[in-house]
Symmetry: D2
Subunit: 343 residues, 4 copies
């Protein structure tokens, strides 16, 4: 069976593993206050061109989302999110378990707009009984989204502007950020994201690391005491240096972007094959996730050799699946899949 | 200014006040374990024709909702609700603040159907990554709904059946239950509700009491240790007998239903006047809440003397408002309003 | 049976009831934004000689405690309290249910000192792994305490000073404040308390009202959005005016203090009788609660006619009980008890 | 600087790293449902001689503690713990942040007894106002404790018996379990622990793994839906196989016990040196943690080359420190330290 069902089927990139092995018996202090973490922090600050950023490393995405959101919000405040957002549908109510409502907005291709945020804000404050409603205080977006789409610089600027005008925090979930930043349609970079968002993270788990998400905080109010939150929410790794070592390996020489580009190119090969075969897409996505609609018999045939992520039934004879490439996907497996799609 | 904006503008029915004054200097033990509460419990058990019911008295609706829901659900479980449901929009995230997601279903006229519940349940268990989603475990409905509509016996039976088949608790918010049970369209009674629901409450705050909601629990799992939850969530009234005294006054001789019927009749008078004047309704409701669409100039004129609850802008020249009658509404004020609507 | 077991056995003072009846059919807006509440707020601001105070009315003490504490603290912050404090032992973990640790300090006669607070603060910040501990951010005291003792002005000033120096909020639970302020040993008044504390409440439930606690907030950070918290925690009374009306009746002409003094005087009569009979006290308390140690046979005899609150077994032949007087206690019943103690 | 301050200064045992490298590019499904995890589960079930055990792998100790406790308790229930217990003092209120009170019992050398648990249970149920208190429902112990002491089989049997009689869950935090089970004073084994506890974990982070705790659940009620809890609390590792691979390497051939024994032996060498030098111990501990009281000048001298964990000031000229050995500690470093202690 060849797995195209997600982007975390393998371990870590060989250079990451090498670095972990090389530093394995070094003695360091714990909890992310070691030298490796500090070096990785500086690499990230350099890439974002902002020395004042706080960088904290967490193990996983749900953990990062719940910790950031719970740290930012007061008890009666909620977070605006696309209804398809990871926090709204795939985290077993982790945000709610910290006491906060996820206020879902209807997404278009996984994205929400500045206008929707402005409207939600105004609806709240113009309501006579506003104290009887959750107060919106943060906007959560993912980039790429759960549907593989990405925000343009103009869209992110518009979101950032409404958030700053209205006193909302802007938070970008970058679990797949590498695949977004190296998409051929992308016009964002880390510097712009660090400027436009109040907090975001650079995802490692799905982009070459064994695990790890680098949370980057620019808003001063969100920096305060953030490490207490990491500890309380169970996210403070004893051997924190494991995270620093991995992000250093991924980011100091551009490996992160190189392997992301690789995944996007292979995804494009699969996408082209689908187009050539006449299979439409559930959503047009320019990153490593392909949402294609296949005839059921074709799907059944492919599933003998390949694992995909089932999405939904489209009509009586068609289903949508997600096909994922990643930093670890081989050209050979993609070529074989392309042949079988076209075959 | 004459208030028609809600059904809690006045204090309590005179017979309730009399009883409170009469028992005022009696010494009783606290926390709802006194004789008055016990008598009121027995009256309610009698009306429901079920001696095994647990009855606990709480002060208000949001408190009752959050206490019941938090008592019923485990950390990773959520409650299905109409998107217009009180817990979803008017309680400042009280349910989420206890750690639970409100899973909103699109309502029709404030109601949700057995089919929607079945679909939500099946979507969850048929999902490959079901553990990554909140597990639906309770269905919350309000009767009458926030839009003044009511569930028929057939609808409630269908909901009850799917809940029992699927292991979900069925919870009815009866903040305005009196107005529902005395609606001319109603075919439910307390006995049927107690049988079909696992827990519900008989609202006092909006139907003749100073305050108070009588929570009636039939499901054994929900009875266990429920009083710990009342205390923890801040709802255990020191002088609990105040609740017992009021519900006894309201329920022992049918006063509750009599004053509810009064409100419904007056609402019908207003509704007829609106119809006669050609004003359409946002929703057809057979209880004490009237959702009428008025021309803006007419609304402006009426607002000089009357207070309504603004709902929404309908088009450039029309707005929807809620007009409420209650146990306390006088025929004189309604007649005056009818004249002014028609005038 | 004559009840001396607590100070909430009866309803409300007759003047409070009169006022509730008198205003019963007035139409007001809800949720504490009516005129009666506004007038009561102004009375309280006047008594505290501070027009900038926020005053919000809640129904009960546990509700007030959890709402204030949850509003003040961030997720990783905790509240310092006497180990005998109400929030630590008698509220079913209400504070913890909002996510916050109660950090218990060993109390002397129900009280904690400025030195203990300073020590707890320093222990935390001087700890190398401080982020692994709950951050102390609020000090909770009750006055009178659960043991009937009171804080002197000097003690409160010392607590206030350490709190302000260390950035901690000082919160006084005044569920029995009337009995404290009219104790013959007291040297505090509302003005001093409002200056020295960041938030406190004037208890009504135990001092002449049917129910109600007037939360008085002086610290600007605690005022912000406090009403959202009241609603979310289930404490926003629909007919909020019931609270305003009661506090107006109690406070505008000094009734609150008059009836508190009455209870203290009667308590002193009982205390004298105990002394005369040679019964020692578990703790010396100058307010309406008497903690006396009785021989078991004497206790058994008294319990045939009187209800007390059992405290603890002291030795093989003695037990401690709490005897409470209140605004509602009659001289006749006290005289009878005194005779029976001495008899 | 040579680190003796904790037992997580290095990465993982070389055999663990080898296995991680060897399996690195294998494709597996995520979230701990892969073959490696299944094999590790079976190894653990074999060691515990119970095929019915649920085994789930979590990343860290705080995460394991909060997830297990939150999964086990209802909202109004609390967990009994030694006052020195990790959950009570070193987890930033993680348990409270899930809504539950940690009910602290005074520990003797880090341990609590069956008598204390029985007493706490009886105090609660015999209290007239038990519903106003947190209901004790779980007992948390750590073995070894935070002070390096261990429970004997007789002590654990007594705790288990009272828990079963009183309907309490018994939970053992085994973050350092290897060091406990290989202590020369130990008479427990995994089979006994699995029988006597309802849930426990085998700590990997401090005993040879990069990270990881294997939670072993025997009580049926605690197994139900436990994976929802892992996900909700942020503990579900995408590449779950990393945990399975490590525990397989550690446990399938006894490596875990071998390296634990190594650490205990080296600790004994240090302990002997301290005894010989006349330095007393804060607590007698038979595992890898040594709590020794040193003269301040000696400590200052040692700290030039060694890092210890400062515990507390003992008197004007003495301080207590914790010296830790681990699986990774070298004989050379210990010999050098021994020489310097004696020198």
């Amino acid at each position: 069976m060849i797995y195209f069902n997600c982007d975390y089927n393998e371990g870590a990139h060989e250079k990451v593993m090498e670095r972990l092995c090389m530093t394995n018996m070094d003695q360091t202090i714990g909890y992310g206050e070691d030298e490796y973490c500090e070096q990785a922090r500086n690499v990230i600050r350099g890439l974002c061109r902002d020395d004042s950023l706080m960088v904290q490393f967490l193990v996983g995405g749900t953990q990062a989302n719940m910790t950031v959101i719970a740290a930012a919000l007061k008890s009666y405040q909620g977070v605006l999110s696309a209804d398809t957002g990871h926090i709204n549908v795939h985290e077993t109510g982790a945000v709610e378990s910290t006491g906060h409502k996820v206020i879902a907005l209807p997404a278009v291709d996984g994205k929400i707009s500045a206008e929707q945020v402005e409207h939600a804000y105004l609806s709240h404050i113009e309501n006579d009984s506003f104290e009887h409603e959750v107060q919106p205080k943060m906007v959560y977006i993912s980039n790429p989204t759960e549907l593989g789409t990405i925000y343009s610089k103009a869209e992110l600027e518009a979101l950032s502007q409404v958030c700053r005008t209205r006193g909302l925090y802007l938070f970008m979930d970058g679990a797949r950020l590498g695949y977004g930043l190296t998409s051929r349609e992308n016009d964002l970079d880390l510097e712009a994201i660090a400027k436009l968002c109040d907090v975001f993270y650079i995802g490692g788990t799905k982009v070459g690391a064994l695990f790890g998400e680098a949370v980057v905080i620019s808003h001063p109010a969100l920096k305060e005491d953030f490490r207490y939150m990491i500890k309380q929410k169970g996210g403070m790794l004893a051997k924190g240096r494991l995270l620093g070592v991995q992000f250093q390996a991924l980011l100091e020489d551009g490996l992160y972007f190189e392997i992301s580009r690789h995944a996007n190119e292979l995804a494009e090969d699969i996408r082209s094959a689908c187009r050539k075969a006449g299979y439409p897409f559930l959503v047009e996505s320019p990153t490593n996730q392909i949402f294609v609609i296949l005839p059921d018999d074709k799907l059944e045939e492919l599933q003998k050799e390949y694992s995909f992520c089932y999405q939904e039934r489209v009509d009586e004879t068609h289903s949508a699946v997600r096909i994922c490439t990643s930093w670890a996907t081989s050209r050979e497996n993609v070529q074989k899949l392309v042949d079988d799609i076209l075959g």
